[in-house]
Structure formats: C-alpha cells, structure tokens
Amino acid sequence: MYEFGFTRPTSVADAVAAMGEEDAQALGGGQTLIPTLKQRLAMPVTLVSLSGIAEMQGIQSGDGQLVIGGATRHADVAAGAGAYPALAALAGGIGDPAVRNRGTIGGSLANNDPAACYPAAALASGATIVTNLREIGADEYFQGMFTTALEDGEIITAVRFPLPEAANYQKFLQPASRFAMVGVFVAKFADGVRVAVTGASEEGVFRWGEAEAALSANFTADAISGLSVPADGMIGDIHGSKSYRAHLVGVMTKRAVEAAA
C-alpha cells in the first residue's frame, strides 16, 4: 500500500464533506478496494470509511418495498431481508463468510463489478439507488463494467427494492474466483417480469428483454426454451467461451424461473 489518510465520519453530511477533499476515496467494506490498495493499484489521499454512519445501516420493509442502508453488510441482508427471500439468498451466497461480514451493498453497487451479484438483483428488481444527492433508477444507474451514474463524491445512502410477487437468483460459479460466471436474477411483478444477467457480458449487468417479454406473457421455463442471447458481446476467457456464457444465460434463466414459479 501507499500511505493514505483515514477518516470515519458518523453522518452522511460529514462523509460528503470529507469526500470533497482532493483524491478522497469512499471505503465501504473494502472487499475490492483493500486488495487494490495492497497491490498499489490505487493511491487515494484519504479513505473515507462509511462504516460509522448509523443512518446508512439497516433494513426496513413496508409499503411493498424493502429499503437497505448503503453501508449494510451482506451478512446482515442475508439474515434480515426476509421480506425479499430471493435477495436474502443472493446476499447469503456472495463470496465467503469473511466477505459477507465486511462487504456492503452500497460498496458493491458503487463498484459495479461485472461479475458481482447485487447489480443483478437491483436491475431485475427495478430498484432505486438513493444517494446523498438524488434517487437513481436502476435502469439509469448501471452504465457498463465498473461504470455507474454516480458522480465524483456521491455516496449511496440506501437502496430501495420494490417487492416482487416471485423472484429467484441463479448463479453459475466461475471455478476459481467463485464470482458469478453467469448470474441471472428473475423478478415477477404485477406489471411484468424483469430478467437481469450479471457476469456474462462485456457491458456489465444487462436486462434480457426477449426473455422478459416471453416470461411476462407466460411465467414458465418453457416460455423461454427457444430463446438465447447472442454470443457476441459476451465475455470469453480462460474459464469459458462467449458461446458458453450465452448458453449459460439461458440455462440459469430457466432455472431461476423454475425456482421462482
């Protein structure tokens, strides 16, 4: 690591002020950032820890939605998001216990790793990303691998999930990292079905519109049996070709529908 300063504000306002300093970097659970620092791949002047802000912690449900504080850890979502079982299950399957007891939902969504799990849930749920400045719909929020609508210094304070009638997340593990090689989150709402895919695309998390249309008309695995995503644009690497990932998108979507239905 290079040397850096460290501050742990106790309010969003203080955190925003600290983020206004030159080369300040927000620190959620640090599950990506700390290894990056250890490899000397980043050189922030100050780390602004978001772990001491009470108003960014915790889970509340009511009015058909679930609101999760931006600094809430995966383990807490796994244990406390009973109102949204598919989301709780997703959180309980991220990484390993050490990761789940440090990593946060806000950190994951801000980083937007193309193989992370939470982006699939947020996008498929049509979640709202709440920041210190504004509210951003998931469809506008995710803008490609490691790219989001967040401005410099903007902090995710909460994420608001509308509760679907049925939902499920299926993850096919990359053998080494055990990140999602392909992860598909299917959420069925009264006004239609949303399908979001993580891990597979060079553009990061994406919605599979063709499957959504078919499933909105008929929420069964059979409804999408003839559908496939194009291999072009999928990630191809030492763990699997583009066409393999495209194939897995179909398989995981079917399994998610079967599990949700």
Binding site: Q39, P175, H239, V251
Partner: protein
C-alpha cells in the same frame, strides 16, 4: 477408516495422533516468516513484466537515494558469482549431454519470463523497498516470446537463450535400443490405439509462500540462511558450492516448520542465494517473504507435457508394445531437478502395472519464456500414469471390452519383474488391489447409482485405473549413472540421553508428513519405550547429519531405514552395557518392552538403568566400549520402492452446464507395511485432493505473449472442500518392500499420481452414457470444456 486404525496403542501400526498438529493448529508453529533477526532489512525484487526482452538501460541512482534504502543490487553485482546450478544432467538419444543455460541470480542482459528478477532493493522496511523499486529507471526492449513448445522448436523461432543452438534442451529416447523392435511390433499389431493429450501445467501453491532470511556474523564469518525448504542440506551444498562459494562449515541452512512443499520447495531459488549474499555484503540480516502474486510467477511450476501415446495390442487384446512422443516444458531456465522429471521419473514408469514387452519413450524437453517447470507431487509419474491409463480406457472403448477386464488381463503377476524400461519391481499384487477396489468402491452398485442419477437428470460415469510409482528415491549408484549430480541416501543420528529419552536427528524433512509422530513409532516398536520419550529434530544443518531431504515419497523408506540402522547400533551397544550390568554375555541379552533380560533367568535391567550407565560409567566396561549412547547411520537403498494401487471415481455431470461433481472416490493402495494408518489415510486424501484439482480445476495458462493469465486465485482454481467427496481409502493390501528394513514403500504421492485418470475416465464414461461420441477431454475438465465436448 479401516478397522485397523485403533488396533494398536503404540509403535508400528498404531494410529497415533500427530503431535505436531498441536502447534500447527494453535498458531504456535515456527515458520520461516516467524523468524526475525535483530536488525534485519527487507528486500523487494523488481521483476520482469515481460516474457522476453533485452534490458537496454537500468538506472538505480535515483532510487538508491530514496528514504530507507540500504542498497540496490542488479545483475552486475552477481557477475562474479555462479549461477543457480542444475542437479541432473540428461544425456540425449545421440549420446550428447543436454543444453544447459546459465541461470543468473538477477537478470543479466535479458529477461526470460514474467517474474524474472531484475533488481533487488534492500531497505529498512518493505514499503520503502517497494517505493524505491518503483523509482528504478528500467528500459526493456521487448522480444518475441516463445510459449508453445512445438513452435519453440521450429526453425527460426526466437531463442530463449542466445548462446544455445536452439530451444531444445534434449531429445531423449528410452530405451533407444528398443525403438526398432517397437516399430516392428506396431506394424504387426492387431489393433493400435492412439491418444493425444495434455498434462496440464500446475502451480503448487503451498499454503505458506516461500520465505528466505539471510544472516551474517561478522565476528565469525558464518552465514546462515533460514528458508522454506524440503531439503536444507541440499540447499547448503548447492548454494554454498555452486553459487556463493561458501564452504559447508561456514554456512548453516535452517528450514524450520514449512507449510507445505509438494515439490516446489525442493529447489534452490535465486531469492535464497540473494538474501545470503546481501546479508554479507551489508552486514545486516535480509528478509524476503513472497507475496502470493510472486509465488505464482517465481515458484517452479509442475507438469506441462504434451503427449502422443500409442498402444499396440494383439488379436487377444494383449498389450504388445507402447510408444510415446512427449514434449516437456522446462520453462526459461533449468530448475534444480527439472531434466530428471520427464525422463527418469517418467520413462521408467511407462510399463505401469502391465506386462507390455516393448516400450519406447521419446521426450523432447523445450525452453520457453515461462516460469521454470520442475517436480510437483508425483513428478513424472503422474504424467506417465495419466497417459497410460487413459490410452488403456480408450483401447477398451475401441475394442468394446470392459476396461477393468482389459487391465486384469495384462497385469504383471510374477515378482520380481524386470520391466522393459530398466526398473525391477520387487513386489506387488495388482489383482489383489483391484479386487479390493471393486469391494470398497462397491462397483457392483454402480448401475443402480447411475439409474438414480439419471432420474435426477444427471449423467453418471465410472472411471477406474491402476498406478505404479517408483518411490523411496533412490539408489545413489543408479541415479548417478542416470545423470544425478547428487547421492540420494538418507541419514539419522540417534542420541540417547542419560535418563533414557531419545532425540533423533534426521536428514529427512517434514513439511506436513507427520515425521515427528511416525518416526518415534518405529523406535518405540524397536526398544519398547513410549513414543513420547522420543523426539525428532530436522531441518537444521547445524544439528542434523548430511541428508538429502524429503520428496519422492522417500522419508520413511530411506530416512526411516537410516534411523532403524542407527537404532540397531544403539540396541547392540545397550545390550553390551546391560550384559555388563547383569554379569552375563551380551549374546544372551534380550530387549523387550524397555527391559533387558537374560533368557531363562530372573535377571533384568531397565532401559533407563542402561542409558544412565552409559553416561555415568562408574560400573561400565570401559576397556571394551566407549561411554555414551549415540549412533549415526547412513542408508542408501538398493532399489526404488514400488507402491501401487487401483482407484475408482464416480462423477455426475450436469448435461446442461457441463459441471462435474465427484460423487464417490475409492482408493485401494499397496504401500507395503504401514507405520501409522491414520497418517497414511491423510496422505492419500491430500494426494487425491490435488489430483482432483489437476483433473477438474487447476490450469496454469499463458497467453501467446507470455503473460500469465492465471496469475492469482481469481483465475487459478484450487480445489476446495466442497469440490471433493469423502473418500473410501483402503491400504490393507500389503506386499512389503523386500529391500528396506521396514518393508515400507511410501505413500506421499500416490493420491496425486493415481487420481487424475480416474476422474477423466469417469467423465468420458458419463458423457458416453448419453450417447456423446467423446473419447478424451484435456484437463482441467472445467464446465466449459465438458460442455464444449458434449456439443461435439
């Protein structure tokens, strides 16, 4: 666990719990990184990020002025110092010795693989050393890299070493005199099965990365190296004599607790020589601890063979000849024992468990711009076993016969058996191990289990194979003829203290094998005293006799035998003392349960009375024997040992994703006599785990420019607990080794040797059960590869 586990409370055959685990499991081990020498400085190595290039400028002046920097070393500092030596010289099929390039401690002029060390910054702290390394001004002219072995041998290919004639290290034929007869046998064969396969490149990844701490005592002129090694005496000899010019009596090498070796900690590495050299140059201890990223690009890798194997059979399905054509990757330099792995540890095993009369093995060893490749658990024998046991399965498919029956038909059944590849198996019973396997694996129940899997939408497959290995490495005279530049005996000093306790100083080294538990069991059995009266010391050249260390499943067979020989001397002398005390003839003295007695009388003296007399010789036959009770023995075996066995793997394949799940794994091994059955189980479990890792998960991959794509655990898949099943392990088939005093054969590598073909055989079997015309898939059998194979 087999029933014999609790059969005995102490001594040979008892399942004594591992005493070393108390410190390993409670965080009180003493690993090399736990060693901190007063005033130590830290080194950071600037390593090449290019696979191949010419250093056009290297300016350390500005970096040397950075805070905390003591000195920056480059290749220039090592111009007068020997390079890292290779311990084995192979002679090729034309009678010429192999091409042997220099292996500098720090790069001289060129870099030859990603990770090749260029400069070493020594500073007060590691972070200061890293800061300074970033300030070094370095220009490298990138040269085209050679990665693919066959491309490396083409005319005009870029040369890894400019001063060699080509990238060919050697072209080895074995047995060269058999070549024509083998060719003729193939012409006359009723059936020939051919298989081309890859034995995937692996990175050992012991839990503990490599560490070196060099120290120098200005007052005495003595150097000390603390290092993560499987063989400290070998490091002392190689580094002292060939690299730094320090005689053994001025150099101490200590390998304390070592957190896993698996072969990759056998070798002498540049970082060890550097820390020892720099400590003297700076008069400061110098410490290096590898990061995991450094381990990936500087630990010797394993395997990496590309092979075409052909099996000839007669009309009755008898094997008549075997021919192989292998390319073996050496990497950019010759690691310590690299040339021996694809030759003498591989070609000599190609007979396997079968009476194939004619065998010819060709191996072309190739230099590439990759990390050096050397021994990894099994070393050559897994490569031999994999290709042989795969081609037999393929032959069974082509001939429409049962693969187990085809193996049984061709088993060697008479021992001793001289193979056509220059070794003589002393004992074995391959029919018995296969019978035992069929029982413990419940092969009769496979069809029902397959039906259950199919109901669940899964494809179930069964894979069976045999293996043989040459362990207990090795007879010195034989390996000397084969090109080894070292002897391969082992040593032990048995020191009996006045009050009867014993310390054994062994040249073997334990880095997970449990010697501190199993070695005392042997002495306990011989003398009849409790195991906790016996301690094992190892790993420090200052207090152990010259020994060759631990690898090749040799510790008990060779090191244990040396300990037995030394203990026999102790007992002989103790009997003389006891005879004196009892006023009898030593020929009449018996030793049982720690008591010396005279048969037919009520005279007896206890072990402790005799040991006390040895050190307080008031009433003692000083005119006949010396006081004290301490003996040393060196043991050099007359042959290898030949453990063997049969393994069975059952897999389920998800037909939609290609994901393989190992449902059952059974092993029936013949290790000869067993000292601690629990430790043997553990060794087999670990070996199978690594074999499953190779078969399903692990793959070291370079891109065409020589960048290491699998450079971290994000991309290099190690087996985890949920990747492996509970194993059925049996070692009740025991044909004792005939030439060592314990009758033991060695068990450390068997699991890693025997398991990969079982897994691949099982997956091919599963896919064929669904009508897929698949005959082979290269390892690792990742979901993507299995799915691709199913698509045809």
């Amino acid at each position: 666990m087999p029933k014999d586990i609790d059969a005995k409370e102490r001594g040979i055959g008892a399942a004594t719990k591992r005493r070393e685990d108390v410190r390993f499991l409670t965080g009180t081990g003493n690993y090399t990184d736990d060693i901190n020498v007063n005033g130590q400085a830290y080194v950071f190595f600037l390593r090449s990020d290019m696979a191949h290039g010419r250093i056009t400028s290297l300016d350390t002046a500005a970096a040397a002025e950075m805070p905390g920097v003591l000195r920056i070393f480059t290749g220039k500092d090592f111009e007068g110092v020997g390079g890292l030596p290779c311990g084995w010289q192979v002679t090729d099929r034309f009678g010429e010795v192999m091409q042997e390039p220099a292996h500098p401690v720090l790069a001289q002029g060129k870099v030859r693989h990603v990770g090749d060390p260029i400069a070493a910054v020594v500073a007060e702290t590691l972070e200061q050393a890293r800061d300074a390394a970033e300030a070094i001004e370095l220009d490298i002219e990138e040269l085209p890299a050679v990665i693919d072995m066959k491309a490396a041998l083409e005319d005009g290919a870029p040369k890894v070493h400019d001063d060699l004639t080509s990238n060919l290290c050697y072209d080895w034929g074995f047995v060269e005199e058999n070549k024509e007869a083998v060719t003729k046998a193939f012409e006359e064969a009723a059936h020939v099965t051919t298989l081309e396969l890859v034995n995937n490149r692996l990175i050992a990844n012991p839990m503990e990365p490599r560490v070196a701490v060099g120290d120098f005592n200005r007052a005495t002129g003595d150097s000390t190296l603390y290092t993560t090694s499987q063989n400290p005496h070998v490091i002392r000899l190689l580094m002292g004599a060939f690299v730094l010019g320090i005689p053994e009596h001025k150099l101490r090498v200590v390998a304390p607790d070592v957190g896993g070796g698996f072969g990759t900690k056998i070798f002498h590495y540049a970082e060890e020589a550097f820390c020892t050299f720099a400590a003297k140059a700076l008069n400061r201890a110098v410490k290096w601890t590898a990061s995991r990223s450094e381990a990936f690009m500087s630990d010797a890798h394993g395997r990496d063979h590309v092979t075409k194997i052909e099996l000839a059979l007669d009309a009755d399905n008898n094997f008549t000849a075997l021919r192989t054509d292998t390319y073996a990757n050496m990497g950019a330099y010759l690691s310590t024992f690299a040339p021996s792995v694809p030759t003498w540890l591989h070609g000599t095993l190609m007979a396997g468990n079968y009476k194939t009369p004619l065998i010819y093995v060709n191996v072309k060893a190739v230099f590439t711009n990759t990390v050096p490749v050397d021994a990894y658990r099994g070393a050559g024998r897994p490569e031999a076993t994999f290709q042989l046991e795969r081609v037999i399965d393929k032959a069974a498919l082509e001939l429409g016969v049962d693969p187990i029956a085809l193996r049984r038909q061709n088993f060697i059944t008479e021992f001793p058996y001289a193979t056509p590849v220059a070794v003589e198996y002393d004992t074995g019973d391959y029919v018995a191990t296969m019978d035992k396997l069929e029982e413990v694996a419940d092969l009769a129940g496979f069809a029902a289990r397959r039906a259950e899997s199919e109901k669940a939408g899964k494809l179930r497959g069964l894979g069976v194979n045999c293996y043989i290995e040459a362990c207990g490495i090795a007879p010195s005279q034989l390996v000397g003829q084969l090109g080894a530049r070292a002897g391969l005996y082992e040593s032990a000093t048995v020191r009996v203290n006045a009050t009867g306790g014993i310390v054994v100083m062994t040249g073997s080294h334990s880095h997970g094998q449990g010697h501190e538990t199993s070695f005392p069991q042997v002495i306990s059995e011989m003398i009849g005293i409790p195991e906790d009266m016996i301690e094992i010391e190892h790993g420090d050249t200052a207090n152990t006799p010259m020994g060759m260390g631990t690898y090749g499943s040799r510790s008990l067979a060779v090191g244990g035998s040396a300990m037995v020989k030394a203990t026999e001397k102790i007992i002989a002398k103790a009997k003389k003392i006891a005879a004196h005390l009892m006023e009898a003839s030593d020929a009449d003295v018996e030793l049982k349960d720690g008591q010396f007695s005279i048969a037919g009388t009520d005279k007896s003296v206890a072990w402790g009375d005799v040991t006390l007399a040895a050190y307080v010789p008031h009433n003692y036959p000083l005119e006949e024997i010396e006081p004290g009770l301490e003996e040393t023995a060196f043991y050099d075996p007359s042959n290898f040992t030949y453990p063997s066995g049969a393994y069975a793997c059952e897999v389920e394949v998800d037909p939609e994703t290609g994901k393989v799940s190992i449902e059952r794994f059974a092993a029936a091994d013949d290790f000869g006599n067993i000292v601690n059955p629990m430790i043997v189980d553990g060794q087999v479990h670990g070996g199978i785990g690594q074999g499953i890792g190779q078969a399903l998960l692990e793959g070291c991959v370079y891109d065409e420019d020589g960048q290491l794509l699998s450079a971290s655990f994000m991309d290099y898949a190690m087996p985890r607990a949920d990747d492996v099943p509970f194993y059925q392990v049996d070692h009740s088939c025991q044909t004792p080794c005939t030439h060592n005093p314990l009758g033991v054969k060695g068990c450390g590598e068997a699991g890693a040797i025997g398991s990969p073909p079982a897994v691949v055989n099982a997956v091919v079997n599963a896919l064929r059960s669904a009508g897929k015309d698949v005959t082979h898939i290269d390892m690792p059998l990742s979901p993507a590869r299995v799915w691709a194979a199913m698509q045809g």
